[in-house]
Amino acid sequence: MQILLYIFKRILQTIPLLIIVSLISFFIIRLSPVDPLAELKLNPSVSKETLQRETERLGLDKPIIVQYAKWAKSFVRGDLGVTSNGEQVSAKLKERIPNTLLLTVVVIFLTWVTGVPLGIFAAVHWKSKRDRILTVLTSIGMAIPSFFFAVLLLIFAVKTGWFPVGGLTSSDFLEMSFAQKIWDVTHHLILPVAVLFTISLAGLQRQMRGNLLDVLDSDYVKFARAKGLSEFKVIYKHALRNAVNPMITLLGFEFASLLSGAALTEYVFQYPGLGRLILEAVLRSDINLVMASLMIGAVMLILGNLIADILLIITDPRIRRKEV
């Protein structure tokens, strides 16, 4: 019961936060010199009447505050509005969200499944040769800019012909059997996943290693060892449980990056995800689409943090007593 109350309080807190975020984003976009009609204005075949009609359709003839109110009103009702091309924003997002989710879920799953054990492994074998090798590898992973790495892999794909050059499906996807379809998608996913995996694995592994090392150095671990517990029990039963707290917070952030974390890689690999859609929307100042994506980002971040906090409450009795 108490926990439900806590969640309710947290949700109430997000409302003013969302209002502030939306206000700031809306005004920044509208006050920037980007004119959504610039292209049309320079097109000799577009008449003055057409320009006038477009201005009215996009609501650009009204003061910013009225535009914001209009947007906010329909947003509260759950209507994300239409893009500057007249398509439903929600339909546009629906097209892309599954693709982005596919990519990020695969990446997050892989990084956690390998990152956490590798971190533990490195911490347990602290200062050994194996730890050093892992340190070198993860340092490379952290140092390499994702954009550059993606371009390198893309060139690799072109030169060897082993991988498709970007995209998510082949052009004859429609005629494939189910197994072929799965293979086709996997084949396309390998390179972008490799990029994102390398980058985020490094951070995660370092984090896990650091946490565990901190804990292993503490008095109660020394005590546990001293009283003769097996090394396995010391590490996996006592130390790990305490080392995992910061990881849960991290997981909350990972949740936030589910929909927005891969934009750059998506762009390089021409991956049909949200990132590319939103980049293009920003460039053309497509206000409803940009606002929708910013709000999604904000909501996901808040939600991610909330989930992390709840998980913490469940795993850590100390926090339970303080927070609730």
Partner: protein, 610 residues
């Protein structure tokens, strides 16, 4: 010592990479490699043959193999609609054009207007009589008749549904043409007065009445969403060589052949040859090049350095390169001749600068100081042609009597002297009132080509003692300056025109046009005084549109080009040359500067049938 060894190894590796990326053949100058468009032997023009009561159009190109797919690409976000009447961007237009044929089309070789969906046409005074083909069908089996044509023009275009630019372009002195059905296979268009560009406008798509009528009845707002990108392609009823089967957002658009198309080959078999046409949607130029190199696309337009790189490899590769001649795009430098004031009573252009910019000698002096040849070689990698007229070099209306010339600083100095400009002791150019000649030159930041031109223009003009402040600014801000705040001195911009119809440039050249940037009149300045040459161009454009015979029209448009050539409101710099590469396995490819490589997509076939 050890460290130096490592560094050497790394350097050696780097060197190896550099060597591998620079093929020996690259030293061959690209401009000689692309000396002239290759000679293309076009097949005779297609003719109408009647078989079992159906008026087919028979292609005269060599018969080929059926089957296979052609993969092309489109850069950007992909299509925004599949309704050919709603398209506002080139990608959507190109993608829907593949599905809908027009009554007439442009002969890619000569630029003449030739019948397509129409069997033939006659022009009698202001009447354009279209004879339709008998027995040809929409993709759902219903016949294509005069009702469809009348419906398209009367109920969609004239009534202002969708993108109204088609309607705007046929309005003559505020009046619309009329269209009526004479019988099931004859349609008569009547223009309120002679209007030469009208015939070419009939190349627009024709809609199937039985599919579009319900949408039109639901009003304009509904029509905007009709056949949007979310529509089920199964419902598309088309007349073109291909029809869409699949659209995957941000990835591709797939078309399959229309099995009942009305064009047949010399063996009387129905075209198109290709089973599929696929457009991949790619985000940017670099990705497109990678996809071509990776073999995922079959056709690509190349620019600058990439063109040179591919040319060097052409001999060992499975693609052939084509020079499609000068582009319809023009790169120019505009000079602001505005002498009006804004709402606050301030001049848009500083009054001392106005005296320079409105001085023809000054503008000509600037023109003679530019080294176009140098810009073509250094900025466009030789893949461009110096330009001196507003009509693009492949335009059928190009005034060929206007001769190109080179840089001539002496002439520039002479012209400046005539207007009282002089260089002071330090070589600085000063006008006769003692003001230092200094102005701003704008272009849109991020466009590397225009930025490079700006730098060279600045250098060229500084040889005359002018001080040029070159300022690349953000595109939107630049547009705002050009069309609203009007506070700019000179600008480097580009425009695309039509090689067939100069009337399309009326928004630029008419003195109250929306893009008449060199002397832009905002709403409140509508009635302000015209410069004599502006008034003359207004008159010439009016006459040019009214005249019907090509020779008569050419006279008017020749004069307008001559005026621009002399008065230099815009100083034209160059026109890029279009280079394209296409896999060699595709046959029946007849490259043309007017139609590109795929103007005859129904005739193109893959040698291996794949």
């Amino acid at each position: 010592m050890k460290r130096i060894g490592y560094i050497l190894v790394v350097l050696l590796l780097l060197l190896l990479c550099v060597n591998r990326d620079l093929p020996v053949a690259e030293s061959e100058a690209p401009q000689t490699a692309f000396a002239a468009p290759q000679q293309v032997v076009f097949p005779p023009r297609a003719k109408t043959v009647t078989l079992k009561g159906v008026d087919y159009l028979q292609s005269q190109a060599p018969a080929g193999k059926f089957g296979g797919a052609l993969v092309m690409s489109t850069i950007g976000e992909g299509p925004k609609t599949f309704n050919p009447f709603n398209t506002k961007d080139a990608t959507s237009a190109a993608l829907s054009e593949l599905m809908y044929d027009g009554l007439v089309t442009t002969d890619p070789q000569t630029g003449e207007t030739v019948p397509k969906l129409a069997k033939s046409y006659e022009i009698k005074g202001n009447d354009y009589i279209m004879h339709l083909r008998r027995g040809i069908k929409w993709s759902d089996g219903k016949p294509i008749t005069a009702d469809d044509v009348v419906f398209t023009w009367r109920n969609i275009i004239f009534d202002g549904f969708g993108n109204t630019s088609a309607r705007d372009s046929v309005v003559i002195d505020g009046k619309l043409p009329t269209v009526r059905k004479a019988d099931d296979y004859t349609v008569i268009f009547t223009t309120p007065q002679p209007f030469a560009p009208f015939l070419r406008l009939l190349a627009g798509p024709i809609a199937p009445k039985h599919v579009f009528e319900p949408a039109v009845k639901k009003g304009k707002a509904y029509f905007e969403t009709f056949f949007s990108t979310n529509a089920n392609p199964k419902n598309f009823v088309t007349s073109g060589p291909f029809r869409m089967v699949e659209y995957v957002p941000a990835q591709r658009v797939v078309y399959e052949r229309n099995p009942d198309y009305y064009i047949i080959n010399t063996e009387n078999r129905k075209l198109p040859y290709l089973d599929k046409v696929i457009y991949l949607i790619v985000g940017d130029l670099n990705n497109e090049v990678l996809k071509f190199e990776g073999g995922e696309i079959d056709l690509i337009n190349l620019h600058g350095a990439n063109a040179a790189r591919f040319k060097a490899r052409e001999r060992y590769s499975d693609f052939a390169m084509y020079n499609l001649g000068p582009d319809t795009g023009t790169m120019y430098m505009g000079i602001n001749q505005n002498n009006r004031r804004n709402e606050k009573g301030e001049f848009y252009v500083n009054s001392k600068k106005q005296k320079w910019f409105r001085d023809k000698n000054f503008r000509q002096a600037v023109d003679f100081a530019l080294d176009r040849k140098n810009m073509v070689l250094n900025i466009a990698n030789g893949l461009a042609a110096p330009l001196f007229t507003p009509e693009s070099l492949n335009s059928v209306f190009l005034n060929k009597t206007l001769k190109p010339y080179g840089r001539n600083l002496d002439k520039s100095r002479e012209l400046l002297k005539k207007s009282g400009f002089y260089q002071d002791g330090k070589g600085r150019l000063t006008d006769k009132y003692g003001n230092r000649v200094e102005f701003d030159l704008y272009t849109n930041a991020g466009n590397t080509e225009r930025e490079a031109i700006g730098v060279m223009v600045k250098q060229d003009l500084e040889d005359l003692g002018m001080k040029v402040n070159f300022k690349p600014i953000e595109f939107n801000s630049l547009v705002n300056k050009l069309v609203s705040t009007l506070d700019w001195d000179m600008v480097i911009m580009g425009l695309t025109g039509s090689p067939l119809e100069p009337n399309g440039g009326k928004n630029v050249w008419l003195s109250d046009g929306t893009l008449h940037v060199f002397n832009q009149r905002l709403e409140k300045d509508r009635r302000s005084k015209r410069l004599p040459y502006e008034a003359r161009i207004d008159e010439l454009f009016k006459q040019g549109a009214l005249a019907v015979k090509f020779e008569d029209r050419k006279k008017y448009y020749d004069e307008y080009q001559k005026i621009v050539y002399d008065e230099k409101p815009f100083i034209y710099i160059y026109s890029p040359i279009r280079i394209a590469a296409m896999r060699k396995k595709f046959k029946n490819v007849f490259p043309s500067s007017l139609g590109g490589l795929t103007h005859n997509v129904e005739e193109i076939y893959a040698e291996d049938g794949k």
